[in-house]
Symmetry: none
Subunit: 200 residues, 4 copies
Amino acid sequence: MGRKSLAPVRRAEILKHFYEVLVKEGIEGASIARIAKHMGVYPGHITHYFKNKEEMLIELVESLMKEYAEQLIPQWEKIQDPGKRIHKILDMVFSVDWAEFFNNRVFFACFYLSLSNRKIHSLINQAYERFFRILTDEIENCIKPGISDKVDTAAIADMMIVQMEGISIYNIILRDKQRIEAASRMAKEIVLDLLNIDTG
Amino acid sequence: MGRKSLAPVRRAEILKHFYEVLVKEGIEGASIARIAKHMGVYPGHITHYFKNKEEMLIELVESLMKEYAEQLIPQWEKIQDPGKRIHKILDMVFSVDWAEFFNNRVFFACFYLSLSNRKIHSLINQAYERFFRILTDEIENCIKPGISDKVDTAAIADMMIVQMEGISIYNIILRDKQRIEAASRMAKEIVLDLLNIDTG
Amino acid sequence: MGRKSLAPVRRAEILKHFYEVLVKEGIEGASIARIAKHMGVYPGHITHYFKNKEEMLIELVESLMKEYAEQLIPQWEKIQDPGKRIHKILDMVFSVDWAEFFNNRVFFACFYLSLSNRKIHSLINQAYERFFRILTDEIENCIKPGISDKVDTAAIADMMIVQMEGISIYNIILRDKQRIEAASRMAKEIVLDLLNIDTG
Amino acid sequence: MGRKSLAPVRRAEILKHFYEVLVKEGIEGASIARIAKHMGVYPGHITHYFKNKEEMLIELVESLMKEYAEQLIPQWEKIQDPGKRIHKILDMVFSVDWAEFFNNRVFFACFYLSLSNRKIHSLINQAYERFFRILTDEIENCIKPGISDKVDTAAIADMMIVQMEGISIYNIILRDKQRIEAASRMAKEIVLDLLNIDTG
DNA sequence: GATGAATGAGTGTTCATTCAT
DNA sequence: GATGAATGAACACTCATTCAT
C-alpha cells in the first residue's frame, strides 16, 4: 500500500488559510504565493492540491455556503413556540450582528466574482434558494396554528431576504448603528404585519 | 496666455477607458497596461496623468457618483402632482431596470473596494446621503398637502434605500424576473403604506 | 523465490507512454508530470523506475533504435534474387513512406538531443553503423555474382544513407510529394549507376 | 516629441543574445529568464519588446534565414567563368565546413520546431525555395554556353539540396571527417555527372 | 506635453526530484 | 512494490511605476 491520502485534510487547511488571507488582504491580495507564505509552504504545495486557482476559489465558496447553512438553523431550532420562533428568526436576520455575521470582505468578494463566474453564481444562488426554503417552511409553521393566514408565503420569504440584504449593504455604506437598528426594527414590523402577527 | 492644459480632457478620456475595461474585464482585469492597450497608448501615458492607480480609481468613483446623481433627479422633476411624483419615484427605484441602471460589475467593484479604502467608502457614503436627502425632501413634499402625515420621513427614506439595495442584490442572485418584480411591487406597497397613501 | 520483479514491465510501460506523449506534444511537452498524467499515475511512479529523466530518455532512444533495426531487415530477407533484392532495398530506403516510417517528431527530438548528449549520440551512431554494415553486406552480396564489381562498397553505403537522410529532411521542408518522389527515383538511379547495375 | 524608439535596436540585441544562449544551452535552456540574465536585464525587458516567446522565436528564425541568404551568394558571385563557378558552388555546398557553416544546435532546434509550428516551417521552407531558385539559376547559367544540356535543372537542384542535407546530418551522426569528405567528393562527382560536365 | 524605455517584484503554474509511508 | 505528499526552483508573462528623452 502507498501512503495514505492527506488530500482532504490539506485541501481544508489550504482553504482555511485562503479564507484568512482573503479577510486580511482582500481578493486582490489573496494570491497563491501569499497564501503559501501565510501557510509556510511553497506555492507548488497549493497547486499540488488544487489544479488551479479557480478550482480553489470555487471550493472555498462551496465550503463557505455549506458552513453558513450549518451555523444558521441551530440558532432557533430549540424554540418550540411558533410565535416566539418567528420573532427570534426576524430578530436574527434583521440584526446588525447578523449583517456582520459573515465577513463582508469575503462575502462580497465571492458575490463580486459571481458576476463573472457561473459556477460561483450557481453556488451562491443555491445557498439563497436553500435559505428561501427554510424561511418559507418557518413561515408556514407559524401560520398553521392560526397565528396568521391568507399570506403569500413565498413572497414574504423573498421580502425578508431582500430586506436582510438591503440592511447588510446599507450598514456597510452608512456605518451608522442607530439608523441601521431603526431600519432593522422597521423591517421586522413590516414582516410581522405581512404575517398578520401582532407587533408587540 | 500659454497653451491650455489638456490634463482634464486626457484624464476624462482615461477614466472613460478605465470604465469600459472595468465593464468588460472586471476589476481584476482593469490593469493600467490593459487600459493603456484599450486606449492605444503606453502605460506611461496613464501614470503621467494619474500619479498612481489609487488616484485614478478614486477619481473614477467620484465621477461615477456624480454622474449617477445627474441622471437621477431629471427623471421625475417634470411631474408636478405630488402623488403621481412619489409613485413615479417608487416605480423607478423598485424596478428591475433600475436595479440594472448601474453596471453591476462597476458598482460592486467600487463597493467592494470601499470595504478597504476609506476614500472610496466616503465617496459612496456621500452619494447615498445625498440620495437620502433627495428622498426625504420628496417624501416631505408629498406629505405637506395632507396626503400623509405623522410619518418618520428619515426612517422611510432609509427603508426605501434598504429595499432598493436588497432588490438589486437579490436580482443578481436569483436572476428570476418574476420574483424580483413581485418583490418590487410589494416593496412599493409597503412604502406607500408607510406613507399612509392609498395603494392603487 | 520471492516475487518476480515487475520493473522491466513497468519500465517498458513508461517508455511506451513517453513515446506517445513525445509524438503528441513534442519534446518540450514530454514532461514527467505529463507522462504520468497520460499513464494515470503520479510522477513519483516514473522516478521510482527511472532514477532521472535522462536515464529514461536514453532508454527510450535505446529501445527505439533496437526496434527500428528489428523492423528493417525482415522487409527484404525473403527475397532471394540479389538483383531484385537490391532493388527492393533501394525502393524502400528512398521512398516517401520510408521517410515517414519513423515518427519525425520523435526521431528529430532524439537527433537534436544527440547534439548535446554523448550517450544519445552514441546510441544513434551505433544504430547507423549497424545499418551501414547491413547495407555494405547487401551490396557485397549483389556484387559477388558479377552483377557489379570494382565498386567502393563502403562509399556507396554511406552515399545511400546520405541520400536517404537528405530525402527525409527535404521531404519535411518541402511537403511536395511529387518533387520528393522524383528525387527518390533519381537517388535510386544514381546508386544503381554506382553499382553498375542496369537501371530498369 | 516623445522618446525615440529603440525597439529595432533592442529587438536585434535580444535576438543576438537569444542566439548565443541557444548555441550554449540548447532550446530547452533558452528560457526568457536565462536570456535576460545573459543580457544583464530583467525578464520584463524582453517581454516588453516581444509580446511572447513564440514571436521572439519566429523573428529569430526569420533573421537567421535572411542572414544565411546574405552570406551565401557573395561567396561565388565574383567568379565569372561558369565552369569554375559551378565547381566552387559544389565545393562549398558539399564541404564539411559548409555542413558546419550553420550552427547545428540552432539549425536543428529551428528545424525541430518547424515540425509543430507552421510559421517556422513556412520560413524555413521559403529559405529553401529561395536557395533552390539560386541553384537552378546557377545550373542554367553553366549550361547555356554548351557545357551541359538536356538536363532537368530543377531535379538536379533538388538533388543537390538532398545530398547537402544528407551530408550535414550524416556528418553529425558519424563524426568521421574522412568518410564525410569522401561522401562529399562523391556527391560532387554525381552532380557534375548529372550536368554532363567533366569531373576533373 | 507626451512617448516609450526600463525596472523589479509580482502573477499562476509546471518542473524534476526526493522523501515518507 | 507502490503511492502520493512535499520541495524548491524555474517557467512565461504581467504588474504598477519610474525615468529619460
